[in-house]
Symmetry: C2
Subunit: 201 residues, 2 copies
Amino acid sequence: MARRSDHTREELRRLVLDASRKIVEKEGFRGLRARQIARDIGYTIGTLYNIFEDLDDLVMHMNGETLDALYDTCSDLELTGDPIADLDRLAHNYLEFTQSHAKLWNAVFEHKLPEDRPVPDWFSEKVSMLLAVIERAIAPLFAKEDPEALHQHARILWMSLFGMTSLESTGRLLEGETSMILARTLIRTYVDGLKLSAQNT
Amino acid sequence: MARRSDHTREELRRLVLDASRKIVEKEGFRGLRARQIARDIGYTIGTLYNIFEDLDDLVMHMNGETLDALYDTCSDLELTGDPIADLDRLAHNYLEFTQSHAKLWNAVFEHKLPEDRPVPDWFSEKVSMLLAVIERAIAPLFAKEDPEALHQHARILWMSLFGMTSLESTGRLLEGETSMILARTLIRTYVDGLKLSAQNT
DNA sequence: ATTGAAAATGAACATTGTTCAATATATTTT
DNA sequence: AAAATATATTGAACAATGTTCATTTTCAAT
């Protein structure tokens, strides 16, 4: 068989990614099976491997689209210029997304490429986009001459929030407060600290 | 066969965990195979299942011992009473451990129990021990009447550091500064923020 | 109609974790 | 000492996994 022409290569790609997303949303990342994806889209297993290199590749693209979706919910809010307020709203959007798409978000940090396989540039690029959102929010706290510090602190905030959702959604290692409250406290305290060190310089 | 009496049940348990650790240290968590463990200790696969419920159970115990080891390197340094200095040294020990045992530490957050399987209490207990270390370090910043805040901020610091090592060791999502530097900046900034809010109360 | 190219197939393979009836050994009882 | 009992150990067998690729089918061009 070939060129069933039911779908173009691009449509097929969409079908696969949509099906994968639905499976993960329902069963979790661990429940994702090549045969299940194929069954769901009405093709056979071999077809998956015409479109994606392997499951790792497929998951990277699925996770890439998750990052895209997260970016969309974060980028459409306009900044007020008050870092704490803006970060709060940002964190609010971020956590609302990671919680309402908990299993999908889980896949982002549950999946890991084999060590010998580098993260694709297009994926790192998506992460940079999210970092840039944070940078814009805390930019008012930094002098224009110090883009390095801006960069560094944005990373720290990103990593901290990441650790928060990672630990929360896996359910392991921590219980108690919601990450929403913890994130607010983190932001408030950290930005306070930033203001202080800004005074000292 | 039975009771080869080469090893007691307890010795066997040690053999298995040691072998597992060595495999993970060399091949990474993904490289851990039941058959390999059995081969390495000179027993067959079935024996593993006499000692541990399944691989999940085995890994939980291996990770538990990793937390123990981390606790040991963190708990033996005596506090000066200066939160920033103490946290710095704590983070130093923490990161030195997670970096020199990168693959072992990776296993701690790469492994995830199935959703329907609760984290054992003895494991959560080990995490609490580590949290308590952080709490002791920042305790001077809090009034005795507010153990709640102490608890919360310790958690936030823990989660932030966790996110840092998680992102660093997986190699994904971030590149650039070493986590050692980032951790120092995080601690300095965060504790500055804590001092500020302490003044306000 | 015929041909050529490419998409789709699915049987086959190597590995995986896990089970459990069979077996071998140590201990207890006779 | 021998027989009986209990149990530790075994490893073949199973179901499920991701992946490959020769084969087959279809479409588009000739």
